[in-house]
Amino acid sequence: MTSRPITEEDLHGYVDSVLAPERQVEVSAYIDAHPEVGFRVAAYSRQRTMLRAALAPIAEEPLPPELDLARMIARRGRPRQTPWWAAAAAVVLLCAGGAGGWSLRGFNHSAGEGVVAIAQEAAQNFAVYGSDHIRPVELRATDRAELVDWTTQRLGRPVGVPDLSASGYRFMGGRIVATAHGPAAMFMYDDDRGSRLVMLARPMKADQNAPMTPHADGPVNGFAWADNGLGYSLVGPAAAETLHPIANEVRRQLSRQI
């Protein structure tokens, strides 16, 4: 026979019935000629059958009402009530964000200054601290006053702590982090599913004032902007259209505090 040699992968493929029909025949012939391999393959097959049988009853249970997908879709599709001013602001910022997004093309190639840089720094810090389950923040939400003192001292000016509870995110706390442009304040939030958001803020040399600018790094989205010499970026694994209104809300709250 001039067929390709039989591999371990073929044996597993045979057990799981995923081989091409010709190959299935070849493996079958091989097994007939090599009983010790056949014995092992038969044992794998029995194991597979048993495992499927043992776990099948779970998939046969009636679904509980909270797993009603049609209802979830219907709920999501229902338009939420939005105040007129928020809608108007969203339109303005969407345009600004779109223009900013265009100006961010080639994002990865430029070393970056201004909001491009802070966007990148926020994404990097999210990558490091957003996935940290031991000590994501240095000072917890309960030490808020201390955290504000610390960041004010290191940044040379106060940074407000936005309240995102209306968007379903709790303030976890924060820390001072290093960036190529000096110290930055990092505040972290999470929702009841453990999904995290990071807000980074630091004084800006370039782009003292900049419109809301979207950025993305794989599944992680962000929005960066600058007001009165302080640059901000809000970053998280949420979809851009989910994150955008939260970034708007952060900006609204912080501009009120200044």
Partner: protein
């Protein structure tokens, strides 16, 4: 969203099974599936993966891993035996029930990386390539983990009960 309902709804029983086998807790697993479905509804229109099954299993698997990492430092509040009694459904007969129970306990003792491959590839019927995609590992790693999982499970079961050799390998499907 009608296409989502058609493509995802039939997969919910399998998602529950995968989640429950990993978390070993019925209500925690259903919470996880609910979370997974909510996310899927929110991201359906932006998904790049045309393979809905691999896509939804990826979301569920990542949620399960996040949850397991978060709880692994705390002691599990349910004993494995109790969990299997409560969380896994009744077996058709007593004899089968005993063997299933032994098998599931052996499955529980597998390293997590082998258990996930074995469950996706054999129980949930994902292709090896889909399994590699869901777990974000190379195909070769899927094969070696599958191979190790099967060998180890055989040894574990063999230690408890000698299997009688089968004469007719042709009957294997």
């Amino acid at each position: 969203m009608q296409d989502m309902l058609h493509q995802i709804e039939p997969l919910i029983p399998a998602l529950r099974r995968y989640a429950r086998t990993l978390l070993r807790d019925r209500s925690a697993a259903d919470d996880l599936v609910q979370d997974c479905l909510e996310r899927a509804v929110g991201h359906w229109s932006q998904r790049k993966d045309s393979n809905a099954r691999a896509w939804i299993f990826t979301i569920l698997h990542n949620l399960a891993m996040t949850r397991l990492r978060r709880t692994s430092t705390r002691p599990r509040h349910i004993d494995i035996d109790d969990a299997q009694e409560a969380s896994f459904a009744q077996a058709p007969s007593q004899e089968d029930g005993l063997r299933y129970r032994e098998l599931l306990q052996a499955l529980d003792r597998l390293p997590e990386e082998q258990r996930t491959v074995l469950l996706l590839a054999t129980v949930e019927g994902l292709s090896y390539a889909e399994t590699a995609g869901v777990l974000d590992i190379p195909l070769g790693t899927v094969m070696s983990r599958l191979s190790r999982a099967r060998e180890r499970l055989l040894k574990e079961m063999d230690g408890q009960q000698r299997v009688t050799p089968v004469a007719h390998l042709r009957s294997v499907k």
